[in-house]
């Protein structure tokens, strides 16, 4: 039961984050909203895994927690350099 409640309780939060993503006004706001939305999704997946008693779902949450980061880095790269190929950092 508790997981059902948690899952449903997560939706208003997701909805508000979505509202921010749609409203903008700047693209950074959208990125921020997408990021937050990503975190919500990770938690949602975990909760759903418990709700339906399928713990395998946690793998998906884990994968998503790892991958979500890359999108934001790509955004940074996009605005800071405007080009994905540019040599930006030295290794040291």
């Amino acid at each position: 039961m508790m997981f059902e409640v948690a899952a449903v309780a997560l939706f208003p939060a997701m909805f508000l984050a979505l509202a921010r993503a749609i409203a903008g006004p700047t693209v950074y706001d959208r990125v921020l909203a997408v990021n937050t939305f990503g975190t919500f999704t990770v938690l949602m997946i975990a909760v759903l895994g418990f709700m339906t008693d399928q713990k395998d779902f946690i793998d998906i949450a884990l994968a998503y927690a790892l991958i979500n980061f890359i999108g934001t880095i790509a955004v940074l790269k996009f605005f800071a350099v405007g080009d994905f190929g540019y040599q930006q950092e030295s290794k040291k």
Binding site: F15, L18, V27, R30, F57, Y64, I70, F84
Partner: protein, 180 residues
């Protein structure tokens, strides 16, 4: 319960899709497409399609977004307003949608356990894969063995796309003489 979640998610998807398509700023549209794919991943999860959800999350969150941003970085970020109303497309879309809705009227109800797809072929996978293949994940059994040939095709598709992109863009340092 899951019906409720299912409906909420579908509604959110509809909102996201509309917002993504009416944005003139392509960057924002790409971001919203990311959310759309996340929502669909969640939705797949509600419908027990764990593998599909995994794929959609990985692709939608990582690869698609990065490739789209890469394209925007090389092209331009905003869309011009369409100069003329689009009657014909609207007409085509309405007709197509109407045909589909017509088609749904006879469909087996959502999640009907007596629907043909649950009584033919699939039961074999569910009941026999344990002894025939011997691995727990039925999706993997079907994907890699029963319908392994499709998956060979799928791998070939990725290979083809890779070759196609290389044929168009080339890899490595771009050379002036390489261009058409």
């Amino acid at each position: 319960m899951s019906t409720l979640i299912d409906l909420i998610l579908l509604t959110l998807m509809a909102i996201t899709a509309i917002a993504a398509l009416q944005l003139k700023d392509l960057f924002g549209a790409v971001m919203l497409t990311g959310i759309y794919s996340l929502l669909s991943a969640l939705w797949f999860l509600i419908l027990d399609a764990a593998d599909v959800s995994f794929t959609e999350a990985a692709v939608g969150a990582g690869i698609s977004t990065v490739l789209m941003l890469g394209t925007l970085a090389l092209t331009q970020r905003n869309e011009k307003s369409p100069s003329h109303p689009r009657i014909l497309p609207l007409f085509v879309v309405t007709i197509t949608g109407a045909i589909l809705v017509y088609g749904t009227l006879d469909m087996p109800a959502f999640a009907d356990p007596q629907a043909p797809i649950h009584t033919h072929v699939a039961p074999h996978y569910i009941e026999k894969s344990g002894e025939e293949i011997g691995i727990p994940n039925i999706v993997t059994s079907v994907l890699a063995s029963y319908r392994g040939y499709d998956t060979l095709g799928e791998t070939t598709v990725i290979f083809t796309a890779c070759i196609g992109v290389l044929l168009l863009l080339g890899i490595g340092r771009r050379r002036e003489d390489d261009e058409s």
